[in-house]
C-alpha cells in the first residue's frame, strides 16, 4: 500500500515537473503577464484607485471577484469543520478524563496573554487600516486578530473565550464578513455600476470616483477581516476541543 502511495506521488511530481516546462520562465520579461498586465497595474493603479500599494489595489479592486470567493472559501471551510466536528450533546461526565495539564491555573501565561492580546488586536486593526500603504490588509489583519483570541483561550481555557464570544456570535460575524463584501459589491449594482466596481459609491459618499474606489477597498477589507477572524476562532474551537466545545488546547 505504501509503495502504491509512493508511486502515485512520484508520478504526480514528475507530471507537475514536466508541466512546469510549459510555463513562462521565472521572471521572464517577455511573458504575457509581464508585458501587458503588470505594466498596466504599475502605471495606472495609482491614478485609478489612489492606493499606493498596488498589491492591495489588484487584490481588492481589479481582482475583486477572486478575493470575494477566497473569502467565501474560508467561510465554507469554517462551516465544513463545524458541520463535521461539532457535537451538540456533551459526553457523559464519567467519560471525561481528568485533565493532565493544569489548565486555567497558569498565572504566567494568563498575565502575558492579558498584556499581549490587546496589543495584538490593535496591531491587527492597524494592519487592516494601513493595507493601502504598507503590506497588510484583511487577510493578514484577520489572522493576527484571530490569533489574539486564540492566545486568550490557550492561556485561559476555551470556556473563557466562549463566555466572551458566544458561538452564535462567532458564526454570525463570520457570515457577516462575507455579507459585507458581497453587499458592497451589490450596492454598486443598485447605483448603476458593475458588480464590485466601487466607483459607483461616489454618488453616496460624495467623493471623487477614485477616492470611492479607495474607500470601497477598505470596506471589503473590513469584510475579509471579520470573516477571517471569526472563522479562525471557530476553527480553533472546533479542532482543539474535538467538537465538544468544552476544553481547549
Amino acid at each position: 500500500m505504501k509503495i502504491i502511495a509512493l508511486l502515485v506521488s512520484v508520478a504526480l511530481g514528475v507530471i507537475l515537473l514536466v508541466a512546469t516546462n510549459d510555463l513562462p520562465e521565472w521572471g521572464d520579461p517577455q511573458s504575457p503577464a509581464s508585458t501587458h498586465l503588470s505594466r498596466y497595474y504599475i502605471e495606472n493603479s495609482m491614478e485609478q484607485t489612489s492606493v499606493p500599494n498596488f498589491v492591495t489595489a489588484v487584490l481588492a479592486d481589479y481582482r475583486g471577484y477572486d478575493t470575494m470567493f477566497e473569502t467565501a472559501v474560508i467561510f465554507c471551510a469554517g462551516i465544513t469543520v463545524l458541520t463535521i466536528l461539532r457535537r451538540s450533546h456533551r459526553r457523559k461526565k464519567k467519560d471525561v478524563q481528568p485533565r493532565p495539564c493544569r489548565e486555567g491555573q497558569d498565572i504566567i501565561l494568563k498575565s502575558a496573554a492579558r498584556l499581549i492580546a490587546p496589543m495584538m488586536q490593535l496591531f491587527a486593526l492597524y494592519v487592516l487600516a494601513h493595507g493601502h500603504h504598507s503590506p497588510g490588509g484583511g487577510f493578514q489583519g484577520g489572522v493576527i486578530s484571530g490569533a489574539s483570541f486564540i492566545l486568550l483561550s490557550i492561556a485561559y481555557d476555551l470556556e473563557m473565550l466562549l463566555s466572551r464570544l458566544k458561538e452564535r456570535t462567532i458564526m454570525f460575524f463570520s457570515g457577516l464578513g462575507v455579507l459585507i463584501y458581497a453587499g458592497i459589491g451589490a450596492i454598486c449594482l443598485l447605483l448603476g455600476g458593475n458588480f464590485l466596481n466601487y466607483s459607483s459609491w461616489s454618488k453616496i459618499l460624495q467623493v471623487s470616483e477614485v477616492e470611492a474606489r479607495s474607500h470601497g477597498m477598505l470596506g471589503i477589507e473590513i469584510g475579509v477581516f471579520i470573516t477571517v477572524t471569526f472563522i479562525m476562532i471557530s476553527l480553533y474551537a472546533d479542532l482543539a476541543s474535538g467538537g465538544e466545545m468544552d476544553e481547549g488546547l
Binding site: 505504501k2 502511495a5 509512493l6 485533565r99 493532565p100 495539564c101 501565561l109 499581549i116 495584538m120 496591531f123 494592519v127 494601513h130 504598507s134 503590506p135 497588510g136 493578514q140 489572522v143 493576527i144 490569533a147 486564540i150 492566545l151 490557550i154 492561556a155 488546547l249
Partner: protein, 98 residues
C-alpha cells in the same frame, strides 16, 4: 552598511542551522520544540535584516512584528499541546514511515 547586514544575516543563518541540528537530533519532541522556538525568534531578525539590506525597513517592520507575535503563539500552542499528551516526553523510537 548594507553589506554588513548581509554578513550579519549570513552569520545568523549559520547559527540557525546549528540550532536545527538540535531539532533533528531530538531526542524528545520538546527538545525539538526548543530549537524551533529559537529559530522562530531569529526569523523575526532575518526579516528585519532583509528590510535593512533593501533599504525599506519601514515596510518589513510590520511583517517582523506580526511574525514575532505569531511565533509566540506557536510556541505557546505547541507547548500546551505537548503538555496535554504526555507521550511527548518519551524518547522517540526510530520509526520512520513512508
Amino acid at each position: 552598511m548594507e553589506n554588513y547586514f548581509v554578513l550579519l544575516g549570513t552569520a545568523l543563518i549559520l547559527l540557525m542551522f546549528l540550532t536545527l541540528v538540535r531539532v533533528v537530533k531530538g531526542p524528545t519532541a520538546i527538545d525539538r520544540l526548543i530549537g524551533v522556538n529559537v529559530i522562530g525568534t531569529k526569523s523575526t531578525l532575518l526579516i528585519l535584516i532583509i528590510g535593512a539590506s533593501l533599504g525599506r525597513i519601514d515596510m518589513f517592520i510590520d511583517i517582523a512584528l506580526a511574525y514575532a507575535l505569531l511565533n509566540f503563539m506557536v510556541s505557546l500552542a505547541t507547548a500546551r499541546f505537548f503538555q496535554r499528551n504526555r507521550s511527548a516526553g518519551m524518547i522517540e523510537k526510530e520509526e520512520v514511515e513512508l
